[in-house]
């Protein structure tokens, strides 16, 4: 069946999302036009959905995704793919603050840079950022993997609980309770295979993997000073 085109403009978002859901239920792919950086588009879509946004979207696009394939042609605002459990979201340009917040699974692929707190409180899945991840990225993540091809801003992986931050470029600084490791050949192969699937194969990358130093797992108030950042 032919794609359905849904126009956003200044229409109520509830109506736009209802049209997207109806089209998905009828088995049609959806192209969304005149997006005007509006918020809350395509929330809670399931595995039948294949949605493409022409232009930039606002906050929380693709939030609570459970299986949909969502493409954003240009930029995304705050928290794209927040709490996604499965599926695949691609952002063509820049992703604003807190991209992939509390993600549980699935893949978030950002072709530009990501803002601060990328993957904050992440609990599973993968985030690939072709550019740099911003300040405090991976903050308090519990599980999952953030992969940044051009490096990271300040306080990278601060207070990381579990999970991994992979960098193929420099980090401005590392956050507290982090441990910088050399990944094994098998681990690198796994990450490179994931990147190759996205057309990002490059065997010359110099990988560093950041994991939790696990000292905050057993916080003692007498150590509080060690954790003060300012």
């Amino acid at each position: 069946m032919k794609d359905l085109t849904v126009t956003v403009g200044d229409r109520p978002i509830r109506q736009v999302n209802a049209e997207i859901r109806d089209a998905v239920a009828a088995g049609r792919d959806v192209t969304v036009t005149d997006t005007k950086s509006r918020h809350n588009l395509a929330i809670g879509m399931d595995a039948r959905a294949n949605i493409r946004f022409e232009g930039s979207v606002g906050y929380y696009c693709g939030g609570l995704n459970c299986g949909a394939r969502i493409q954003v042609e240009r930029n995304a605002g705050w928290a794209v793919g927040e709490a996604m459990s499965s599926g695949e979201i691609t952002v063509g340009g820049y992703a604003g603050m807190s991209a992939g917040t509390s993600m549980l699974g699935g893949l978030l692929h950002i072709k530009g840079n990501a803002g601060p707190r990328c993957g904050v409180a992440m609990k599973g899945g993968d985030i690939i950022v072709e550019g740099r991840i911003g300040y405090l990225s991976g903050f308090m993540a519990h599980a999952g993997r953030i992969i940044a091809l051009e490096g990271a801003g300040d306080a990278c992986a601060d207070s990381l609980w579990g999970g991994e931050v992979w960098l193929a470029g420099p980090a401005k600084s590392l956050g507290v309770d982090t441990r910088l490791t050399e990944p094994s050949a098998e681990q690198v192969q796994e990450v490179e295979a994931l990147l190759a699937e996205r057309g990002l194969a490059d065997s010359s990358r110099d990988w560093r993997k950041i994991v939790s130093a696990q000292r905050l797992w057993h916080f003692q108030s007498r150590d509080a000073k060690a954790w003060l950042m300012i």
């Binding site: 950086s37 918020h39 605002g77 603050m97 803002g115 601060p116 911003g134 300012i230």
Partner: protein
């Protein structure tokens, strides 16, 4: 939450409508009150004064007392005062006056009447219009659309630190510095300490709002010899809390953002004009087409945008 915005038109234009649009697009960030700092055609001498009278019924007497204070400083009305025609108890007043001999002393004396009529702004071109309600409410009541000027600020308030009354709304005038105003999104946690210090230096604060501090603090730093960008940078280490604020005067609009990078700001525009807002979808009300958006998402950032003087 709160939403903030700035607009530089690059020429004399209907900045009133632009700022109403920028704030209407962010109405979900707070509709307790909405306010605008609008820069009209600049005067060579004399000032535009914006004030709020707290009792519409006694406005005549209150205004007469204020005019007496104005005349005490060698100035006079240049036209009849205008007031809003609404039915609210409080009433917004606009005065055009000639040159004051000492604006600092005059302001202190005029503030003795602030329990009856409170000065909201003084400037060669600045006019602060603020009231309770949404952008549409305030624009409708005060005729903000159609205001012709060079630049301005907007604010949508979700009240956290002080009362929901027109005078505790944003923008705040940097009492007594003519033409300086701020809007702020965030919470300042050490404002009472900094405010007490400034009070000891003779500054006067009219509200319990944390944001009122910022305008005066920056203006005081500039008076002490810093340039605008230096003052903005210094505010990041000395003002504590999460904040993104915009500060305007007749020459430029600047912003500063705290070390925690919580409160967003985006800008779009070129060729001497710019629209700045908390949310990208707001600036898209001004620039509908997809274009290059600058996201000020990082920690500890500042910038200033100049107002083209030739355009004025």
């Amino acid at each position: 939450m709160c939403g903030i915005a700035a607009r530089i038109a690059g020429r004399m234009a209907d900045i009133g409508t632009d700022l109403v649009e920028l704030m209407d697009a962010q109405v979900h960030r707070g509709a307790d009150s909405t306010g605008f700092a609008l820069y009209g055609p600049p005067r060579r001498t004399g000032f535009v004064v914006r004030a709020v009278g707290f009792n519409r019924a006694s406005l005549g007497v209150d205004l007469d007392d204020l005019i007496k204070v104005i005349r005490g400083y060698g100035a006079d009305l240049e036209s009849d005062p205008t007031v809003d025609e609404a039915s609210s108890a409080h009433v917004s007043v606009r005065l055009e006056i000639s040159e004051l001999s000492d604006i600092e002393k005059w302001s202190r004396e005029a503030d003795e009447l602030s329990h009856r009529i409170e000065i909201q702004s003084v400037g060669r071109s600045l006019e602060i219009i603020k009231d309770t309600g949404s952008a549409a409410d305030v624009a409708g009541k005060h005729g903000v659309r159609g205001f012709i000027g060079t630049h301005g600020l907007g604010h949508a308030r979700l009240a956290t630190e002080s009362s929901v009354v027109p005078t505790a709304s944003h923008p705040f005038w940097a009492r007594p510095f003519p033409d300086v105003a701020i809007v702020h999104n965030g919470q300042i946690t050490n404002y009472f300490l900094l405010r007490d210090r400034l009070r000891r230096d003779g500054y006067r604060f009219m509200t319990e709002n944390d944001s009122e501090l910022i305008a005066v603090w920056i203006s005081d730093r500039i008076k002490a010899g810093l340039d605008k960008l230096q003052a903005l940078e210094q505010s990041i280490s000395e003002i504590d809390g999460v904040f993104t604020y915009l500060i305007s005067d007749s020459d430029s609009i600047g912003f500063a953002k705290d070390r925690w990078a919580i409160k967003p700001l985006v800008a779009m525009g070129d060729g001497g004009e710019v629209a700045v807002a908390t949310e990208e979808q707001a600036v898209r009300r001004i620039y509908a087409a997809e274009g290059d958006v600058v996201n000020y998402d990082g920690p500890a950032l500042t910038n200033t945008w100049p107002v083209q003087k030739a355009a004025a």
